[in-house]
Structure formats: C-alpha cells, structure tokens
Symmetry: C2
Subunit: 226 residues, 2 copies
C-alpha cells in the first residue's frame, strides 16, 4: 500500500482558468474587503489550492486589479451607449436607465460594490488611485448626461453637475448595498422589493431636485431593472 487514498496532485479533470478564480475573488473581496479577504478563503471558494492563485496572478493586489479590469469596462460601455447625445428621450428616463445599469452590473451580489464603496477611502495608496480613475471614467459619462439635460432645458441651469452626479451614483450604491440587508427588519418587505421601491423613490426625489420644472409629471418609468 504505497499511498492509501491520497488525492491526486496534478491537474484536475476540470481546468480552472483565471476567470473562475476572479469570480471567487469577487465574492470574497466583496464580503470581507481587500485587506481582510484571505487567499485561502478565495481558494476555498474556488475549490482549489491557494498556491494555484500564484500560478495565475502575481499577488493578491494583482488579483484585485485584474478584477477591476474585468468588471468595469462592460459597465462603462453601457453608460457610453446611454450617453449618446442622439438619444432624445426625456432626461429623467435616461437617469432611470443609469440606475438600471448600475443595478445590472453591481446589483446581483455583494461583489465589487462594497469594495468600490469602501476601498476608495480606506484602501492602500496605489489601489485608491486605481479605483478613483475607474470611477471617474464612469461618472464623467453620467455627468455629460446631466449637461445634455441642461442644454435641453429640462434640468436647472444652476446645478452643480459634478456634485449631483456624485449624489446620484453614491446613493444608488448605498441602495443596492444596504437596503437588501435592512429591508426585512426595517421596511418589512423582501429585499428585491425594497431595492425596487428605493430606486424609484430616489429617482423621483433626485429628479424633483434638479428639474427645471419640478411639478411637471415624470414620464412613465419602466419596471424594475432585471
């Protein structure tokens, strides 16, 4: 009996590519934050050995930046399409779609959200800048949307568009993050419903806050973002 039931050492029948590792990393980073997340936890989530991570990535930080590089571009691409000046739909409706895009790309799991939300402030130096530059890229598109609204006369001319963009996006992230957790206890409704109602209430409040004519009725907003 040379070795009773030792698990095989070599490659598994099912290969593990970098993407699968990134999915696991997103889960764990989102749950624990960059610093508290352990490579052993990520490996366990992915179902492999921690050392395998070093075959695909140089370090924990490199894994993090790879995660950003994978998840951000699709979101930005959706925003870019939406920010096309040829789109002449009502600005409130387009802002509603902004919330939808964030919901679609960041809403499904804790994922990048807590990480984007938190790591800007408490993250290490280099990472802070990396996230900032990515977030700014997305925010700039949303801001241009507000400015198109001003030119169309639908949005107040004296609006601070940069701060307003910050408000719109930051609160949407908070809605996606916090409402599902506190909804059952505080709002007495299931998480999905709470998020949907929160987004709708937020857009109404925000739009009233920035509209040239706050009393004018909003165009109908399509159903929840799924």
């Amino acid at each position: 009996m040379p070795s009773p039931a030792r698990p095989p050492r070599g490659p598994k029948p099912t290969r593990m590519d970098a993407d699968q590792l990134l999915d696991a990393a997103q889960e764990v980073f989102g749950r624990d934050g960059l610093r508290a997340a352990s490579l052993r936890a990520i490996a366990k989530q992915a179902g492999c050995d921690p050392a395998l991570i070093y075959y695909h990535f140089d370090s924990k930080e490199a894994m993090f930046t790879a995660l950003l590089a994978k998840r951000f571009p699709p979101l930005v691409e959706d925003l870019r399409r939406l920010a096309d000046p040829a789109d002449d739909r009502h600005t409130a409706l387009r802002l509603w779609e902004v919330l939808g895009i964030y919901h679609h790309h960041l809403g499904r799991d804790p994922g990048l959200r807590g990480l984007i939300r938190g790591e800007i402030v408490r993250g290490a130096e280099g990472i802070q800048e990396l996230i900032q530059s990515r977030v700014i890229g997305a925010a700039t598109l949303v801001r241009s949307l507000l400015e198109q609204g001003i030119q169309r006369g639908e949005v107040r001319k004296d609006l601070h568009t940069l701060l307003s963009t910050f408000f719109l996006l930051k609160l949407q992230l908070e809605i996606l993050d916090v409402l599902p957790v506190v909804a059952p206890r505080i709002l007495g409704m299931p998480p999905d419903e709470a998020v949907a109602e929160g987004e709708r209430a937020w857009l109404h409040l925000f739009w009233r806050g920035i509209a040239t004519d706050p009393a004018a009725p909003l165009p109908p907003l399509p159903d929840s973002h799924d």
Copy 2:
C-alpha cells in the same frame, strides 16, 4: 550592570484610562475597519502595550461595542433636542442642522463613519444588529422631523419619510467620508471647502425634492458646521 536601560515595567506616571484607549481604537477602527484593525496598532496609537487593552476590555469586539456606547448617545441627544415639536423654525433649516449634527459628531476624523457605513453590510452577525439598532434610534428622530414638516404643510404629503431619511443620512455620511479624499483631485478644492459645498448642494437638492413648493426660496442657511 544589571540592566542597561530597561523601561519600567509597572504603571506609568501618567495613567491610561479606558477613554484614551477608546480614542485610539476609534482612530484605528475607522482607518482599517473592525476586522483589519489590530490590537497592536491600537496599542501603538495609544502608546501602551497591547496586553493593557485586556485589562480594560474583554476582547476586541467588546472594545468595539464600548466605542459605540460612548459615541452614539451624544449624537442622539443632539438630535432629540432638535426634534422637539415646539421648534417652529423652517423645516429646511432644521434639516440643515441635522447635517450639522452629523458633521459635528462624525466629521472630525475617519472614526466611526467608515465603520458605521461599512460594518452594517459586511460585519459579523452580532455587530450588525448592534449597529442597526443604534442607527435606527437616530434615524427615527430625523424621520419625525420630516413628519412634522408634512403636518406643517412644508413637505409633500406623499413622501416616503423612512426612505427619505435613509437618503438624507446616508448621503451625508458619504459626503463626510469621500469628498475630503477625492476633493483635491476631482473638485480642485481643499477638503473642508469641498465638504461645506457638498453639504449645501445636497441640502438644496434634497429640499427641492421633498418640498411642497420647490420653487419657494430657502431660508438662509447659517455658515459651515464647526
């Protein structure tokens, strides 16, 4: 030469009480989060040995709850005074003071903010509930303020006051947290100025969003919260 320059073992000339340890803990917890903050870092910040912490507190978690128990009641007490229905000032002005109270109690250092903001979502079970209950206590007072505004006819009757309270406070925390960090690069202004302008812009937008008559001019808002 029995011992060249060994530092003394016994009590220092200057005693260290639990409050000083809590101050150091607030600094480190706020910077690193509950999980990533180390007792050794807290001890270094306080200028004592890590073991001393265990003389005053049972554990790291106990230290955290003690910190909440110390910092929250003064904030809630200020809110309670402000929510007195006998206060007949304009509701927008009272909401401006709400922002001021949060600024005053949570604005000076990273302190509890990042912690309140983050740990609700990603914290351990028991702590999550602890923070929630404290936050709810404060939020309830702000909500009553909105409802007084409705009764006075200054705030829209169809407002979802619970969600609106969530919006008001969450975004104020984000303003205090993020604006100082990103202001120099993005807004091109010093942190304090950015926070002051952000708070003012936020109150204007929020008030327009909830007012019965959004076009009516706001009462003058006193200068920045200091």
